[in-house]
């Protein structure tokens, strides 16, 4: 019996039409997350194991090779040793990225998979946001990359909140937020280098159950600012969530009622903020005083 791996292929697609077909692939994996089927192949079995560690929580292996999208990682063997070769990442559109550092390739792959799932799934609604749990309610911080969400999420977790995600709020059809716990990407002071921190390393705990939203924080970092938010309506919160939704254009008819329901009983606060630790303390103090959350 052949021991060759069965390589994933996109449903309805002809055989490889991009340059990735020239490569010799030795390992493959087909997985499903929230109904989205993703195929991954590589020429290095050790890399495949590293990839598995970066897949979203709750992924399931597929027995069928038919998938909705494929990624291929070519790991350079760097021989002869004097010639450095790039590691390559392909997607269905062709060559997606190349880097001399395999960690960067894996990071790009991981992020691409999250985006792909978030845009394609019909089981959940992905909003770009940080999420923590506090007193059986979710605090959600919508915002795109580099908006300061991770810093604020990390500060809230250090203050005792439960970690749900620093990148994506994942809503179900009832408007509850599910955990999507990625390793936090925190920029180191001084060097400015980013490091991945599992929440446990910060002394935090991961959330396990879906939560209704208690508070939506719309904030922008401003050096030296003191957090003095104003209350907004739930309609304004829905707009902020739509503005950060990965599938707003693909499924607005389904998205709008879910978000409306999600924020119907939550407070919404808007305002600039200063340092994350101070803001986190102020947020949790505000919650303790407000009976709605």
């Amino acid at each position: 019996m052949s021991s060759e791996p069965v390589f994933p292929r996109r449903e309805g697609a002809p055989s490889d039409t991009n340059k990735s077909s020239r490569r010799k692939w030795t390992s493959a994996l087909a997985v499903q997350v929230y109904g989205v089927r993703i195929g991954i192949r590589t020429n290095c079995v050790a890399t495949l194991e590293q990839i598995k560690e970066r897949l979203p929580q709750g992924w399931k292996p597929l027995t069928s090779p038919v998938v909705d999208g494929t990624y291929s990682i070519y790991v350079a063997d760097n021989s002869p040793p004097r010639i450095r070769q790039y590691h390559l990442l392909y997607n269905d559109s062709g060559l997606q990225a190349r880097a001399l550092d395999i960690g960067k390739i894996l990071g790009i792959l991981e992020y691409s998979i999250h985006l792909h799932i978030g845009a394609a799934t019909r089981q959940r609604f992905f909003i770009h946001a940080g999420v923590v749990g506090w007193r059986d309610r979710a605090i959600i911080i919508p915002g795109r990359s580099y908006s300061g969400k991770t810093s604020l999420v990390a500060a809230l977790v250090k203050a005792g909140a439960t970690y749900y995600s620093d990148e994506f709020a994942v809503f179900d059809g009832r408007g509850r937020v599910h955990p999507y716990p990625l390793a936090l990407s925190i920029r180191q002071t001084g060097s400015g280098a980013m490091q991945r921190w599992p929440v446990e390393k910060l002394g935090g705990r991961r959330g396990g159950k879906p939560l209704p939203i208690g508070l939506v924080i719309l904030s922008r970092y401003q050096e030296g600012a003191e957090w003095q938010p104003r209350s907004l309506s739930s309609g304004r919160a829905v707009l902020a969530l739509v503005a950060n939704a990965l599938s707003a254009r693909q499924q607005p008819t389904a998205l709008l009622p879910v978000l409306r329901q999600a924020v119907a009983h939550s407070a919404v606060l808007d305002g600039v903020r200063g340092e994350a630790d101070e803001t986190a303390a102020a947020i949790l103090t505000w919650i303790d005083r407000d009976s709605r959350v």
Partner: protein, 172 residues
């Protein structure tokens, strides 16, 4: 001059959700989402293509206890028109709104309250996940590498699954 004008609200191509006393509207054609505050929402809902402004005003006064006048309704109609929520583009008759000072008009709007129409453009999947709208211009000179930065040195540009370029969180 305005006694025969009967504004018509758009109904086709919209997803509408009621949220407390606001109205959420998603425009499927333009991929814009709007939040209409209470008064603006009530005025919009009265625009049935048959009710003239005097009828709308009377209805709002009697059924919703809103002290609106023609100036207020025109302000609301302008805002709804900007959001493309009327069936036809608004043609404001000459001489309207009446020659009140801007301060007086704003004071009227503030007293009535609930007149705002907030709007956003719904993002594509790539836009929703990146700080910069697209970094495809970075890619034209070659392939994204670990020293190929997005605008402001924030993140590496890379091609997403749909062929767009987006700045990821990876450090530049």
């Amino acid at each position: 001059m305005t006694t025969s004008f009967a504004p018509q609200a758009r109904r086709e191509g919209l997803v509408i959700e009621e949220a407390e006393d606001e109205l959420l509207v998603y425009d499927l054609e333009r991929h814009e989402a709007h939040c209409l505050e209470r008064t603006a929402a009530l005025i919009w809902q009265q625009c049935d293509g048959q009710s003239t402004l005097p009828v709308i005003i009377k209805r709002l006064q009697e059924q919703h206890s809103l002290a609106v006048d023609e100036d207020i309704v025109w302000i609301a109609l302008r805002r709804l028109d900007r959001a493309r929520l009327l069936e036809e583009r608004l043609k404001v008759p000459a001489g309207l709104p009446r020659r009140a000072s801007r301060r007086d008009m704003m004071r009227k709007v503030a007293v009535i309250g609930g007149m705002a129409v907030f709007s956003i453009l719904a993002p594509t999947a790539a836009e929703a996940a990146s700080r910069n709208v697209s970094c495809k211009h970075v890619l034209k000179s070659g392939l994204p590498e670990n020293n190929q930065c997005c605008n402001g040195n924030k993140g590496i540009c890379h091609i997403t699954h749909d062929g767009d370029g987006v700045c990821g969180p990876e450090p530049c």
